[in-house]
């Protein structure tokens, strides 16, 4: 690859966006730990962390410092290399996943440059997310196996079995969505919902399945059997301490973040919000198109984050509300309920599209959404 591309890229706005996305996901991960406690406290009607800083807002930083300064521990008979590699892998994959998520439409700069509020737009974004996220389970596996501890091993195996079981149903649910959208690019999916109905309307069942699977994939309660302290002490991270432990925790929260983002993009219109074209038209009446477009874009980004935060909250809400499954129940749910449901969903979707839906594909907004096109989209 020629380096001119590299250099020209590094000094472009796009690289800024990447940095932003990266930082945001880390930030959200950090503060999720805080949020988790606050939500827990709220749901259990008690006071959460409130010492470090106002409302304990500095708590995460304190945690970080603590994690860094803790002794790192290697259990006897552990495979050191893999022991370290496990959490690293988990974290890396988690951080990678957010690359293709469209956090907003384009920003138009004065010099006519167009900046996508998305690290990178690839036509197979959805597959990318899947691939990277499902890599994450290797981190758990490796870590659990490497720590030479029965609990860890069991946790790891559970994590793997659970992950694969629910990935099936998840993929199937996704296929139904694909039949509606006809593309794998997250950005296009979002743009398709830019005007008109969100996919949740077409895919209620699919969303439910997807959501359940997302819980399972991120090992959140009620599916947190890989790390359920009541049975397995700490599950796969029983033997972990200091920042390695921290990486596992972060990875989990980042996955939650990504899952929320994906869900909101796929089913809840991504960075689109009701009445955006009205606003656009209103603004263009007084201001320049450039300004109008950017305002709409920024608002869209904000809405997207709103949706994401809601889903993160939803994750925590469920965690502190629902009890944990038994393992065989978990498996049975995944295999004998979600899987057939997903297939049913596919068949229903297909039948619906064929018999009621419009035959030609949804409007293909594959080209870079420059303001003019956006307007056409919006006005239609």
């Amino acid at each position: 690859m020629d380096f001119s591309a590299l250099t020209s890229f590094v000094i472009s706005w796009q690289s800024l966006v990447i940095l932003a996305v990266f930082g945001i996901s880390l930030l959200i991960a950090t503060y999720s730990t805080y949020a988790e406690r606050v939500v827990a406290a709220f749901l259990q009607d008690r006071v959460g962390p409130d010492r470090a800083g106002p409302y304990g807002l500095l708590q995460p930083l304190a945690d970080a410092v603590k994690l860094f300064t803790k002794e790192e521990f290697f259990p006897a008979g552990a495979n050191r290399g893999l022991f370290v590699f496990g959490p690293c892998l988990a974290m890396t994959t988690a951080l990678m996943a957010s690359a293709v998520i469209p956090f907003g439409n384009t920003l138009l700069l004065g010099n006519g440059e167009v900046v996508r509020l998305q690290a990178i737009e690839v036509n197979i974004g959805m597959l990318y997310v899947f691939g990277v996220v499902s890599l994450g389970v290797y981190g758990l596996m490796i870590g659990g196996w490497a720590s030479n501890n029965k609990f860890s091993l069991l946790g790891a195996i559970r994590a793997a079995a659970q992950a694969v079981s629910y990935e099936l149903a998840m993929g199937m649910a996704l296929i139904a969505l694909l039949m509606v959208t006809g593309t794998l690019s997250l950005r296009q999916i979002a743009l398709q919902q830019y005007d008109g109905l969100w996919n949740i309307v077409y895919q209620p069942l699919g969303f439910i399945i997807f959501c359940v699977c997302a819980f399972a994939e991120t090992n959140r309660t009620p599916f947190d059997l890989p790390e359920c302290e009541t049975e397995l002490v700490g599950g796969y991270h029983t033997e972990y301490s200091s920042m390695k432990m921290g990486l596992y925790l972060f990875a989990e929260y980042i996955n939650v973040f990504v899952a929320s983002a994906v869900m909101s993009t796929l089913y809840f219109g991504g960075f689109s919000f009701p009445g955006e074209h009205l606003l656009y038209n209103y603004l263009t009446a007084s201001q320049s198109e450039l300004f109008a477009h950017n305002v709409v874009t920024i608002l869209g980004t904000v809405t997207l984050f709103a949706k994401i935060f809601f889903f993160i909250f939803f994750f925590m809400w469920v965690r502190w509300t629902l009890p944990r499954f038994r393992y065989d129940q978990l498996m049975r749910l995944g295999w004998t309920m979600l899987f057939p449901l997903a297939i049913l969903n596919i068949i229903l979707t297909g039948a619906f599209i064929l018999f009621f839906g419009n035959k030609e594909a949804k409007l293909d907004v594959s080209k870079e959404a420059a303001p003019t096109e956006i307007r056409t989209v919006a006005r239609r």
């Binding site: 860094f68 002794e71 690359a99 195996i157 793997a160 099936l168 921290g246 049975r332």
Partner: protein
């Protein structure tokens, strides 16, 4: 047939992914190194022994585990491949129309037959 939009991507377009990968790697490495340097190191025989709720750990930790897990994995492989077959179909669903739909119904029929078979075979009976 091919999973591609009319936009012609150049390999350079995938550069951001590499960059993000680099960032992630950097962060991870950083945290690892720092925690390694900063943290105290006081080893002892007992402390290093793997955790078993305080009692002596017995036997090899990496014991063979229930074959059910292997079965699950194998089944996943099988069914996931079927799912792979569905992706291109789903993307081109409208182009294929009724023909594709019927074909896929057959396909799923066979899939469900196998599914029913394994359920009946007791793959998910974790009790025994």
């Amino acid at each position: 047939m091919l999973l591609a939009t009319p936009v012609a991507y150049q390999p350079a377009d995938y550069l951001p992914i590499i960059i993000q990968f680099g960032l992630a790697l950097a962060f991870v490495a950083f945290s690892m190194v720092v925690s390694h340097l900063v943290g105290p190191k006081r080893h002892s025989k007992v402390k290093d022994s793997s955790f078993e709720c305080g009692i002596e750990s017995v036997g090899n930790a990496r014991t063979p585990i229930s074959v059910k897990y292997f079965l699950t994995a194998i089944l996943f492989v099988l069914f996931d491949v079927e799912v792979i077959f569905m992706y291109p179909w789903a993307v081109n669903f409208r182009e294929l129309g009724m023909f594709g739909f019927v074909e896929m119904l057959m396909f799923m029929g066979l899939l469900l037959a196998g599914f029913y078979y394994i359920i009946k075979k007791g793959i998910l009976k974790w009790q025994n």
